[in-house]
């Protein structure tokens, strides 16, 4: 399948900046219109990244959203308008509205985290933070490399045990005991190997005196500079509008939501949408470009 997502090929710092801005703004700008924009943009980018495989997540998030909205008034009994009484506690309209916004926030933040998890792969993360926390980044790289190996080794040990009649099947107790035996064999093997790895690292100069440089595979190109500027401008506009109170919303005791009318609120919402649509826009542009160029050949 053709990969149209330009944004995931950008510099990790740009990716990180975007997702940090998206997540923090979604949490801070607790206003129905802003939350809806964030939810839709997050959904759009997730659909771009996952294509046909996004349906299940959307279904799950929709259920979670409705659940959070419906459950919130059970915990939060403040608010003027009582819809009905449940378990002797008032179920209020204001709490339901708040719950609806909280549900949207939950779904939107989840979507941005999911997109971030797809775009910010572990190699990007370690390349970005390798200079600040070199040892931790190295440990993370080693862990991510070791896990599949241990996973396989665990299966091999279980297989070998099966051959001598200890399949690990049976009652729950036998299964757990079998798992413990595998874990014991695995840990002994892994710990012995660790010393060899460490000695080899030391012999090849890890921890030697002198300044260490780190290899950087990602370069900050003109496109990265342009996208960073775009993020900065839209972010500044959104913050400017929000600072003027256009993203203010209060639910308790009565619902009072700032109207989206006038220059500053509309500018704020538009800038917010523009910011969150940057990756989706680049993907769609790339797809159109690809198809239009291909048809000419």
């Amino acid at each position: 399948m053709q990969d149209y997502d330009v944004f995931s090929r950008c510099h990790p710092a740009v990716n990180f900046l975007f997702f940090a801005a998206a997540i923090v703004l979604t949490v801070v700008l607790f206003h129905p219109a802003y939350l809806l924009v964030s939810l839709l943009c997050g959904g759009a980018y997730y659909a771009v990244l996952r294509r046909a495989r996004c349906g299940r997540t959307f279904g799950f998030l929709l259920i979670a959203m409705v659940l959070v909205a419906a459950v919130n008034p059970l915990f939060n009994t403040l608010g003027e308008t009582t819809l009905f009484t449940l378990f002797g506690r008032p179920y209020t309209w204001q709490a339901l509205c708040y719950g609806g916004c909280a549900g949207m926030m939950f779904a939107a933040v989840s979507l941005w985290f999911l997109c971030g998890g797809i775009v910010m792969t572990s190699d990007k993360f370690t390349s970005l933070f390798g200079a600040v926390i070199p040892a931790i980044s190295l440990v993370l790289v080693m862990v991510l490399r070791l896990i599949p190996g241990y996973w396989r080794k665990g299966k091999q040990i279980a297989g070998a045990r099966k051959c001598i009649g200890r399949s690990g099947a049976g009652t729950r107790k036998e299964k757990i005991q079998g798992g413990m035996d595998v874990l014991m064999a695995l840990s002994g093997w892994a710990l012995e190997g660790s010393v060899v790895t460490a000695d080899s690292m030391r012999c090849r100069g890890y921890g030697a005196p002198g300044k260490r440089t780190s290899f950087q595979i990602y370069r900050f190109t003109g496109r990265d500079r342009f996208i960073t500027a775009l993020i900065a401008v839209t972010l500044a506009a959104a913050i400017y509008a929000a600072a003027g109170g256009s993203a203010r919303a209060a639910f308790i005791p009565a619902v009072s939501v700032a109207e989206v009318a006038g220059f500053r609120p509309i500018l704020g919402l538009a800038a917010y949408a523009a910011l969150l649509l940057i990756p989706t826009f680049y993907s769609i542009r790339e797809a159109i470009l690809w198809h239009s160029l291909r048809s000419k050949i």
């Binding site: 915990f75 993370l140 080693m142 030391r202």
Partner: protein
């Protein structure tokens, strides 16, 4: 061997813990909707402080590799129990790391294995909370070992039983509620005590199952792993890492 410490990282970690965290609390107490962001900010800052402090010590290769191996074992331990549903032994290994190598190693092992496992099972809004909660689990075990309540080399059944009981209650009272807090903050405005209690009580059954798995792993696996870690230290002449 380079023994010079990286001092700016050490001072930065101190500044974060002593200045930035209280400042965050102060700033957010003036805002209206503060809970989720304030919690997140404090967690991220604390984790960063731990990471920077570890970096400032310029850790040696053996220390790094042992830490990486234990983190990977913690994550991969799930594979050994694929046949048993809901059996998560990960935190038991994190706690045993804390007991054997101290509170700092325990925190790092918890935070890193939480982060790494989320690269496999999917990142989400819970990632920072999970890293922090698992880290605190390892840190607590390390502290209890430092105070001599948990033994680095358990001898009789008594020591093993203490390990088991510690594992269960650490999950039920500390790590589980910390994980529940992340769900709680996403839907919270202003709560009265009864609602807070209700949210935490709703998490008790899940935490009990989790705690039981960890306790069982501690009971059966605690002593062998601690002995193995000691053996490695003696066999290859490693001092306190």
């Amino acid at each position: 061997m380079n023994t010079k410490k990286s001092s700016w990282r050490f001072w930065l970690s101190l500044v974060i813990l002593l200045v930035l965290v209280p400042l965050t609390v102060l700033v957010f107490s003036r805002f209206d909707r503060k809970y989720y962001l304030a919690g997140l900010a404090i967690i991220v800052l604390t984790t960063a402080a731990f990471f920077l402090h570890f970096e400032s010590r310029k850790p040696q290769a053996r220390e790094l590799v042992i830490l990486a191996v234990l983190c990977a074992l913690a994550v991969a331990s799930r594979a050994a129990f694929a046949a048993v549903p809901h059996f998560k032994p990960m935190l038991a290994i994190v706690m045993l790391t804390g007991i054997a190598f101290g509170p700092e190693a325990g925190f790092l092992c918890g935070a890193i294995s939480g982060f790494a496992s989320n690269f496999i099972f999917g990142q989400g809004p819970w990632t920072p909370w999970q890293m922090f909660a698992y880290g605190i689990g390892g840190l607590l075990a390390g502290l209890f070992a430092m105070w001599g309540i948990l033994k680095k080399a358990p001898k009789g059944w008594k020591d093993v039983i203490i390990l088991t009981v510690f594992g269960f209650f650490a999950i039920l009272l500390i790590v589980g509620p910390l994980l529940d807090t992340s769900t709680f903050f996403t839907v919270a405005t202003s709560y009265d005590t009864s609602s807070v209690l209700a949210v935490y009580l709703a998490g008790v059954p899940v935490n009990c199952v989790h705690g039981a798995a960890v306790a069982l792993t501690m009971l059966l696996f605690g002593r062998p792993l601690l002995e193995r870690l000691q053996r490695i230290q003696i066999k290859y002449g490693m001092m306190e890492p």
